[in-house]
Symmetry: C2
Subunit: 303 residues, 2 copies
Amino acid sequence: MDSQNNCQPTNQSKMDGKWYRELNLNWEGYCQSFQVEEVLHNEKSQYQDVLVFKSKSFGNVLVLDGVVQCTERDEFTYQEMITHIPMNLHPNPQKVLVVGGGDGGVVREVLKYESLKEVVLCEIDEEVINVSKKYLPDMADCLTNPKVNIQVRDGVQFIREHPGHFDVIITDAPDPEGVAAALFEKNYYQDLKNGLKPNGVACCQGETPFLDLDLIQKVLSQCKEVFPNVGYAVGHTPTYISGMMGYIVASPDPDLDLTKPLRTLSEKDIEIMKLKYYSSQIHRAAFVLPNYIQKAVKGVIDT
Amino acid sequence: MDSQNNCQPTNQSKMDGKWYRELNLNWEGYCQSFQVEEVLHNEKSQYQDVLVFKSKSFGNVLVLDGVVQCTERDEFTYQEMITHIPMNLHPNPQKVLVVGGGDGGVVREVLKYESLKEVVLCEIDEEVINVSKKYLPDMADCLTNPKVNIQVRDGVQFIREHPGHFDVIITDAPDPEGVAAALFEKNYYQDLKNGLKPNGVACCQGETPFLDLDLIQKVLSQCKEVFPNVGYAVGHTPTYISGMMGYIVASPDPDLDLTKPLRTLSEKDIEIMKLKYYSSQIHRAAFVLPNYIQKAVKGVIDT
């Protein structure tokens, strides 16, 4: 891929006997490992290494370029947060775009809104969609829903062809190395803004604050140059290395309070929507940052 | 140790080349590993295996019976939460007891309150205190403070000899296997209650909700049989396996709102107290639980 980051490969992950060890220079000296029952898929696609294995205790696990993208056991934590935070900041989300997210997990969550008319899934790597349909059915089965429009292509180009079209755009990207590098650049935030309606909301994978504060500061700063309204939220995902995931939330509407969901989900709503993580209270709490994160993002974005 | 739990040893951790792998049957099939630069201490004390190693990227690491107790890099997350939640629920904490916590981290945080007259550290295993003084100075240096009363003995007996004596009691215990098993029993909560003044507050290590929900339900239920007022809070600690730590908070005062700190720390307070995690906002947010945890504790405690 033509990355403007010129990142060196940092992936050093390896299958080590019956264990998969997620080794990476970005978190040198530390790793998580999964006991492997069976390797289900292990091939290089046009864009990246695609590995799926059945783990002993976390269900099937999808790994791209050596970094865990999701496990069946804890994927709900991430999919719910990256989806329901922006969806609940829009009064009537009808047109939604998911950039990346070929596993289908975010689309599954988007489909829970009755107001929805269409969700476009723009995944550049068809292989991710294919292996997810085969090995991650709880996430990818939803991709046959008639409201889902699957586009196997570059998300940036798709947005440029649909200016001012979307109520919500969710960027479910891997880390900013390899295929997803462009999705962490200032130009991408400009594209995101152009693709949104004036009251639209964007939410992007925001890296792991315990390990990536410098990167997060840089990315938030670029986002803030484009959007008048940028927030940063956190949630707990055990298998994203270090256990805490960040979410970048942005809107062209300067007056929208990103920390306050526009609708309050009742217990009944939560049951019907099968939400295991997100609630209206969690939405607000997710923007309350531990001091070390707050200190890093203060001055970069409004907190 | 004479444990009423009759737990079987679950520790399978091992030094594996230059890596320390934290393997345990309680989280079978998954593990975290630290690259080891030097083993600093590795001996069996009277009570447990005590290991300290210098890691490549998390500073010095203390491991008891094969389970990571703290790393220099992220210990602040745990020490601050288990200390400042109960300390900020008391209007004037003067007498504080720490049960366990021989590394000194909790005592360091307790000493940040001007109202404090005495903090008793009741650690049964002197070896933990000794290795912490030697290898974890940022935590254990405070143990020479004249307000600190170190008792190398069983915390339960100490509490029984000091009924109604304490404003805050913090139980900084390892998991309920081996030496700390009794600190997760109903009798212990009765002792805690007896040791507190009527407006006192207790806070106990509350396990990792993603992996231990059944145990947490059981422990909260036992606590609630004794205390009229029990809450459960969570925070992010990367190196407690799965990355989210729980805290059991209890008071004999049924009217105390555990989710609302009695004092609001200013930015200046946070700077003076060198708080990297805890703030008054974090205190409130910590009691907002993801749905899967909320569902498990609802009906057991008041949420």
